[in-house]
């Protein structure tokens, strides 16, 4: 076994041992013909990784809501992601919606007025 492969095997085994809660890797190092200093060298990093990377729990609200949405028990909540946006973004979204709606109304109204005016002009032209 090359020294690189040996080291790879040792690190995999050492990680499994740390994950199982073992905190002395010297004996393990012996099995892979590694000097004890090498075990010490890696042990602190592996233990730090093990204590830092802990399982986190998603909130129960999120877990239940997503399941309900996926199961089709409730409609996909549009308000839910919107509520998490910064206030100024929410405000901008609402203003854009209102502005767009008003623009549509205006076009319809002005368009309607324009059509009436055109029709009247046409009538007058025909009458002449």
């Amino acid at each position: 076994m090359s020294s690189d492969t040996q080291m790879q095997e040792f690190l995999s085994a050492a990680t499994d041992a740390v994950l199982r809660g073992e905190n002395n890797l010297e004996r393990l190092a012996g099995r892979y013909d590694m000097p004890p200093e090498v075990a010490d060298d890696w042990q602190s990093l592996l233990m730090e990784l093990n204590s830092t990377l802990v399982v986190v729990q998603p909130s129960a609200r999120f877990e239940n809501q997503l399941k309900a949405e996926l199961m089709g028990r409730q409609p996909v909540a549009v308000r839910w992601p919107l509520k998490r946006l910064p206030v100024r973004v929410q405000l901008a979204a609402v203003l854009t919606l209102v502005g767009g709606f008003l623009l549509l109304l205006r076009n319809r109204f002005v368009g309607g007025v324009g059509k009436v005016a055109l029709a009247k002009k046409e009538e007058a032209r025909v009458a002449r």
Binding site: M7, L11, T15, V56, S59, F62, R84
Partner: protein, 213 residues
Amino acid sequence: MGLFNRRTRSYKKMDDQELIVLAKDDKEAFGELYERYMRKIYNYIFYRVGNAQDAEDLTSRVFYRAMGHIDNYVDRGVPFQAWLYRIAHNLVANFHRDQSRRKIIPLDDYVAHSLRSDAPDRQAEASEDEERLMAAIHRLPPERQQLILLKFIQQKSNAEIGEIMNRTEGAIKSLYHRTLLALRDELAIQELERQPERNQDTLSSARNKQVRG
């Protein structure tokens, strides 16, 4: 009530393949798959993005995408769980690409801060060492981050990680070795950066070594 309970109980006894076949027409079967894997996927995403809000958004997208494409899922040696991780990995990559276009806060600061304040079940403040380690992990290339998280959070074997990352077990062992070396170098550089005036020469030679590596 009796019927519903019997069905629910029988889903729990089914393996993934049986559930996948049913899930094509039956949302309750998909619900069982969701129960089995949602927390694992959430954890993976949480550590990749660094905060609960984005982790929730991306986890939702993973399961919507999985549900939308379950008709096309065929087990060709890739377990359902590995398929979910691949979806999650791709969505996280897209997320980081979008973030980098509109990044305001440096990612490391953001991650360290968010992990401290957002993890729902982590009441105590993360120590300075944990922050340093998280910042170092987030400087690794995405596939190395994925490997570290699958090892330590999900406690997967090299063979299982190989299925998820589409590599052989031997390739995973080798990548893991290189990842730990890179992480150790990164932590050493961080240590030198904490006392820059004393370690200027050592620091620049370490950075050069890292760039060459």
